[in-house]
C-alpha cells in the first residue's frame, strides 16, 4: 500500500462530504433528478402510446367486397374504427373527414380491392390490393410514429391471414393542411425526431456554458475583490449589473447567431442528403425567415434569463468554485425539459407535464424549434413573452441585490445539512 494514501483518502472524503455544495450538487441532485426524469419519461411515453392506441381511424370503404369487409373487421378488432362507405376522396374531403371525426388517420379501401386480392390469391402476384393511408404530421415525436406503426403492423397481420404481400399500403402525409403523396409519416417522424434530438442538446450546452461564464464573471469580481472597489466608486451601481449583463448578452447573442447558423446548416444537410426521398423544403418543413427570426429571439431571451439567473446566484457565493457549484444545481431544470422534449412532442404529453414544460423557461427554445417548423408562431410568441417576463423579474431582483450591501454579504445557508450534535470540547470553545 502507498505510504500515506489512506490518510490522504480519509481527509479528501471528509472535505468533500462536509462541503454542502458538493453534497447537494454531486449526490442529492442526481439522486432526485434521474428518478424524476425516469418517471416523467416513462409516464409521457406510456401516455402517448395509449393515446395513439385509443385513437379513432376513419375507414372509407369504396370497395364493399368480401375482402374489404374482412380488412375493416380486422382493423376494428384492434382499434376504434369509423367506417364510411362509397365516398369519392379528394384532398378537401380527406381533410374534412379527419376534422369531422377529430382524428389524424384515415384509410381508404379503393374500389377493386377485393377483386385484386382474389386475383392475387389465384396466382396473379403482379396485382396488389392497395389501401391508401393518410396520417397528419404534427411535429414529430412518438405519437405520430406509433400511429403509423400500428397500421403497418395491422396490414402485415392481414397479409399473414390472406397471402404474403397481398395488401400494399400507399402512404400519404398531411403537412400543414396539404396532402403530400407517397410520404410515409413514420419515415418523416423518424427524420424529424433525429433533428429533435440535436436541438435540445445544443440548447442545453449553450445554456449551461453561458451560465457558467456569467457566474464566473461575477464570482471572479467577488473573489478578487474588484467588486468591492467598484461599489465604492462614484458610479451608478445598476451600471455594474447592466454592464455585466450586457457583456453576457453579447456572448449570448453571438451564441444564438452561431446556433442559428449551425441549425440552418444541420437542416440543410438533411434536406440534401435525403433529398431523393424526402425534400423537407418542398414539404414546408424548413422554418421560414420569420420562423428563424422568432427562434433566434426565443433563444436570445432564454439565454438572457439564464444569464440573469446565473448573475443573481453567483452573488450568493464567495468565490468562483462556489458560484460554479451553485449554478450547477439548476442544471436539472435545463436537462429535464431538454431530455423529455427530445423524445416526446410537447402536445403529446399529459396535461400536468405539459404545464410543467411550459412553466420552465428553458424549455421554450426547444418547443419553439419544433413550432416554427410547423408554422405555429403563436406558441413561439407566447414563449417569448413568458420568458421575457421571467427575465424582467429576475433582473429586478438582481438590481435590488446590487443596490444593497447584500451583494457582499448574501450567502446561501445550508443549516439543514449541518445539523449535528456539538461535541463537549466544541461547546467549551464557544
Amino acid at each position: 500500500m502507498l505510504k500515506g494514501f489512506v490518510n490522504i483518502l480519509v481527509k479528501e472524503i471528509k472535505e468533500l462530504v462536509r462541503d454542502p455544495k458538493i453534497l447537494l450538487g454531486m449526490i442529492i441532485v442526481p439522486l432526485i433528478m434521474f428518478p424524476v426524469l425516469g418517471t416523467l419519461m416513462s409516464y409521457s411515453i406510456q401516455s402517448a402510446r395509449e393515446q395513439a392506441e385509443k385513437a379513432t381511424i376513419v375507414v372509407v370503404n369504396n370497395d364493399r367486397g368480401n375482402w374489404s369487409e374482412f380488412f375493416t373487421e380486422y382493423l376494428n378488432s384492434s382499434m376504434k374504427v369509423s367506417v364510411i362507405n362509397n365516398t369519392n376522396l379528394d384532398s378537401d374531403t380527406v381533410l374534412k373527414l379527419l376534422s369531422d371525426y377529430n382524428t389524424t388517420q384515415l384509410i381508404e379501401i379503393p374500389n377493386g380491392f377485393s377483386a385484386n386480392i382474389t386475383e392475387y390469391k389465384n396466382g396473379n402476384t403482379k396485382i396488389n390490393a392497395t389501401v391508401n393511408f393518410y396520417g397528419v404530421f404534427s411535429g414529430g415525436g412518438i405519437f405520430q410514429e406509433v400511429g403509423s406503426a400500428i397500421i403497418d403492423n395491422l396490414v402485415n397481420n392481414v397479409n399473414r391471414e390472406i397471402a404474403p404481400n397481398a395488401v400494399y399500403t400507399f402512404k400519404s402525409t398531411i403537412i400543414k393542411g396539404e396532402i403530400q403523396k407517397n410520404v410515409d409519416p413514420s419515415t418523416l417522424s423518424t427524420l424529424m425526431l433525429s433533428q429533435a434530438i440535436a436541438m435540445p442538446i445544443t440548447i442545453m450546452v449553450l445554456l449551461t456554458y453561458s451560465m457558467s461564464i456569467a457566474a464566473t464573471s461575477v464570482a471572479m469580481e467577488k473573489e478578487e475583490k474588484t467588486l468591492e472597489t467598484l461599489l465604492t466608486l462614484p458610479m451608478d451601481r445598476f451600471a455594474i449589473l447592466m454592464g455585466k449583463l450586457s457583456g453576457s448578452i453579447l456572448v449570448a447573442a453571438v451564441g444564438a447567431v452561431a446556433y442559428m447558423v449551425g441549425f440552418n446548416y444541420y437542416m440543410g444537410s438533411f434536406t440534401s442528403s435525403i433529398g431523393a426521398t424526402l425534400d423537407l423544403v418542398s414539404l414546408g418543413l424548413v422554418p421560414s425567415v420569420f420562423g428563424y427570426l422568432l427562434l433566434g429571439i426565443s433563444l436570445f431571451v432564454t439565454l438572457l434569463s439564464a444569464l440573469a439567473l446565473a448573475v443573481i446566484m453567483s452573488a450568493f457565493s464567495e468565490d468562483v468554485r462556489g458560484a460554479q457549484s451553485l449554478v450547477g444545481n439548476i442544471t436539472p431544470i435545463i436537462i429535464i425539459p431538454a431530455l423529455v422534449l427530445m423524445y416526446v412532442d410537447v402536445n403529446a404529453l399529459p396535461l400536468a407535464i405539459k404545464i410543467l414544460m411550459y412553466a420552465l423557461p428553458f424549455s421554450h427554445p426547444i418547443i419553439a424549434a419544433k413550432a416554427v417548423t410547423m408554422g405555429d408562431y403563436l406558441t413561439v410568441i407566447f414563449g417569448i413573452v413568458y420568458v421575457a417576463i421571467f427575465t424582467l423579474v429576475i433582473m429586478y431582483a438582481a438590481s435590488r441585490l446590487f443596490a444593497t450591501e447584500k451583494i457582499l454579504t448574501a450567502k446561501l445557508k445550508f443549516r439543514w445539512l449541518r445539523k449535528r450534535t456539538k461535541k463537549p470540547h466544541e461547546e467549551e470553545l464557544q
Binding site: 473573489e223 478578487e224 475583490k225 468591492e228 461599489l231 465604492t232 466608486l233 462614484p234 458610479m235 450591501e405
Partner: protein, 243 residues
C-alpha cells in the same frame, strides 16, 4: 469641519455575530489614522462601513460631515477604498487597469492621462505597467492598487491592510508611498493593520480594537508611555489583559 471621519457608537450585526459593538473614533483632516487589532476585531467591517459598502446596524458614521447611510453617493466622490488582498483584472495590463479606474472619476481625457501618469509614478512599476496584471507578483499588484487608490487625490483614502502579505522591501515601498503622498497632497488616510510595527511607523493616531470596540486610542508614542511598553504590540497585550 475639522473631522474627516466621525464614528459614534457603531454596532454591526451579521446574523448571530456582533462584528462591531459600540465602536467610536474620529479622524482629523490630513491625519493618518490606524485601526489596529487582531483578526476578527472588526477593522475591516469598520472600514467597509466608512467606505459605504456596509450599513451600520445602529450608530452613526460621518465622512466630512456626510452620513454614510443617507449621503453614500456624495461620499463616494471624495474617497478611495483599497480592500484587503484585492486583485486587479487579470487580463488587463496595469496601465489599462489604471485607465479603467480613472474613467470613473473624470471624463476628460487629459485628466485621465494625468491620473494614470501619477499612478505610474506612485507605483514605480515603470515598463511593467504594459504587462497583464496576471503576470505581477503579489507586491507589484499591491503597489498598483495603492497607486490606483491615491491617483485620484481623494480627500480620504481608506486602506485595508495596505502592507498585508508583502515582503520587507515591498512593504517598505508601500509605506513610503502612503507617507509621502499624505505629506505632498494633504490626503487623510484611515487604514487598518494587524501589523502594529507598521502602524507605529505610519500613523499619527491609532485606535486599538478588540471584539468590535475601541479598547485604547491616542498617538502611538503616547500609548507606549501610558502603558509603559516598548511597542504597540505590548500595549495591546496589556490592554486586553494578556500581559
Amino acid at each position: 469641519m475639522s473631522l474627516a471621519v466621525e464614528a459614534v457608537d457603531v454596532v454591526k450585526v451579521f446574523g448571530e455575530i456582533r462584528a462591531l459593538d459600540g465602536l467610536s473614533f474620529s479622524v482629523k483632516l490630513g491625519e493618518i489614522f490606524g485601526l489596529i487589532g487582531p483578526n476578527g476585531a472588526g477593522k475591516t467591517t469598520a472600514l467597509r462601513i466608512a467606505s459605504t459598502l456596509l450599513l451600520p446596524t445602529s450608530g452613526t458614521v460621518k465622512i466630512f460631515d456626510l452620513d454614510v447611510v443617507h449621503k453614500a453617493a456624495e461620499i463616494r466622490k471624495v474617497i478611495a477604498y483599497l480592500p484587503e488582498e484585492a486583485g486587479a483584472y487579470r487580463n488587463l495590463s496595469g496601465w489599462e487597469y489604471l485607465e479603467f479606474m480613472a474613467r470613473f472619476n473624470s471624463k476628460n481625457k487629459s485628466e485621465i492621462h494625468e491620473m494614470v501618469k501619477e499612478a505610474a509614478h506612485i507605483s514605480g512599476l515603470g515598463e511593467r505597467l504594459k504587462d497583464k496584471a496576471k503576470t505581477y507578483s503579489k507586491g507589484m499588484k499591491r503597489r498598483l492598487l495603492v497607486a490606483r487608490a491615491l491617483m485620484t487625490k481623494p480627500k480620504l483614502a481608506i486602506l485595508d491592510e495596505p502592507g498585508s502579505g508583502l515582503d520587507v522591501l515591498h512593504a517598505y515601498h508601500v509605506r513610503e508611498i502612503i507617507k509621502r503622498y499624505v505629506k505632498e497632497q494633504g490626503v487623510t488616510v484611515l487604514l487598518s493593520s494587524h501589523n502594529m510595527l507598521e502602524v507605529e511607523y505610519l500613523c499619527d493616531q491609532v485606535a486599538l480594537l478588540n471584539k468590535g470596540e475601541v479598547v485604547a486610542k491616542g498617538e502611538p508614542q503616547e500609548l507606549k508611555e501610558k502603558f509603559e511598553s516598548v511597542n504597540l504590540e505590548e500595549v495591546f497585550a496589556k490592554v486586553v489583559g494578556l500581559a
